[in-house]
Amino acid sequence: MQIQAEPRLEHAIEAIRVRFGSQALTRAAELPPPPAWPSGTPLDRLTGIGGLPKGRISLLVGSGTCGKLTLALSLLAGATHEFAHAVVIDAGGGFDAGGLLPFVPARGPLTVVRPPAPDAAGEAASTLARAGAGFILLMGEVPEPWLGPLESGANRSGTVVVGVVDAPSRAFAHASSLSLAFARVDWIWDRGQLIGLRTLARCSKNRVAPPVGESELEVRYFPGPAGIREQAVAVGEQAWSAVV
């Protein structure tokens, strides 16, 4: 039966391609990945496409202090150079623009939306994604009813959407195309002083490319004359750093 079915299937596939074009029927594995935005951070190596996917939702997740916000701020700083509109949707009200300075953002105003309610956060995110904002940093969850509009809006305009949450709800996790999980491995101490942390970044979900694996990162805090010095280094390579 199998032997008979295959030529018929091949014949049907051929007929579809002849009638509707060679791209009408494509194997899932052959589908082109979404365009990537190379962020210049070690995360690019984990996504499998050389950057964060445009038009999709990416999540940085991890409980407690594990470096996800540092990475997110680094992405945001890079986005201010790359996109005309990099927007922060600060649902929890905890975004501090000062934390962005070590990563040398582009000079100029940064748009921060502080929605009064979770629904408003969802509305803001989906409206801005549909309008074509280049980069949206979501500081917190988006309610489930807004995930569909957010996904479709981002997909239409190619917006890079990055969410930072401790533990995403099931719906939020499902809506994301890429989830990077962070787990703090250890604190780094030097002469009795806390100077940073070591974290394990792992690609826990990847719908844009085969999963690449994990990477250990170090996020370091150096007290210095000019303030705080923050540095994150991918193990084995100097991936990115920032100094105030």
Partner: protein, 366 residues
Amino acid sequence: MVCCGLTSHLELARRPDLYGSPVVVGRWDDHVIAASAEAVAAGVAPGMPLRQAEHLCPLATFLMPDLEASVRLQELIAAALYDLAPVVEVRVDGVAWLDLEGVTSIPLAIREARRRLRAATACEPRLGLASGPFAARLAAARARPGRLLRIDDARSFLAPLSSRELDFDAEQMERLDLLGLRTLGDVAAIGPRELESQLGREGRRAVMLARGLEPDRLEPWRPPMFTSSHRQFDPPVEDREALLFVARALCGDLAEELGLRGAGAKRLRVRLRLEDADEETRDSLVRHPLSSAAELFGLVGSWIKEWQPAAPIAEMWIELPVLEASGRRQLRLWAGGDGTSEEVVAALERLQERYGEGVVTQVRVG
């Protein structure tokens, strides 16, 4: 450049299940309004008495015309094409024109127009691209289904075609024949004044058309200015969650319609008819047109959440009394770049409108 998409007559497109078989549309005591290609092959022609058509093609399916349904389909097609070109005209006889002047990506617009025409009429349109609507329509008529025929030199393309392609009545056609003007090339060769003296103003127009000078302008389609959606509750409801659920569905319906029409709502009104026949209303003008379900429900939902109706609700109406020809949707056609920046700024302003100025702040960094 004008692109013409030629589909079947919209009276025929109402019944895609009959594609491939002979179909004749017309009233019994009147003339044929439309005939499918199979019926035309049997000798039926639009305009002939229906009895004659029945005699020529007795196996055809004979349909009564439904002008209302055809006009609805015409509106649907016009709305679907509206954001592809600044000027769109659709006729009931299955001709859709798009004036692509100023459109940044003409191939993309044509490809999308073809896709949308196919979706609306369930048949592959023939496409013509020329300097004006007349040449574009004749080019489309000569293209294969799903293909585009591009005409760069309209006059030489038109020259060998029959002068019957001009939309003249029988008497005018007879006079053209008597003058020996059997092709458009013959018509183009004669002076406009000479033919005007024979056929009046139509004669001058015919010469201009035959020369590819395109004297006719498209009549731009405009989106309608009002729409609404409503739901009755039997028995009347008091449950706020039920109201929100229904409101979300109504907003979805309206957004779909707005999307089809390429319109945005400048004003939003919610009316609740109460069990005791009283009515309560909320009404708001919005600075930027709302077009998506999320935007509509954002406002409607916020009203319903704090609404305290005096009695159970028997009917809910969501009305969009002022619709705007969707500049926002067409913005990308003309704005510098892709118009994104303007849309993001508009989106931020809309959020401020809804939640107050303080919801959006500009933080200076760097």
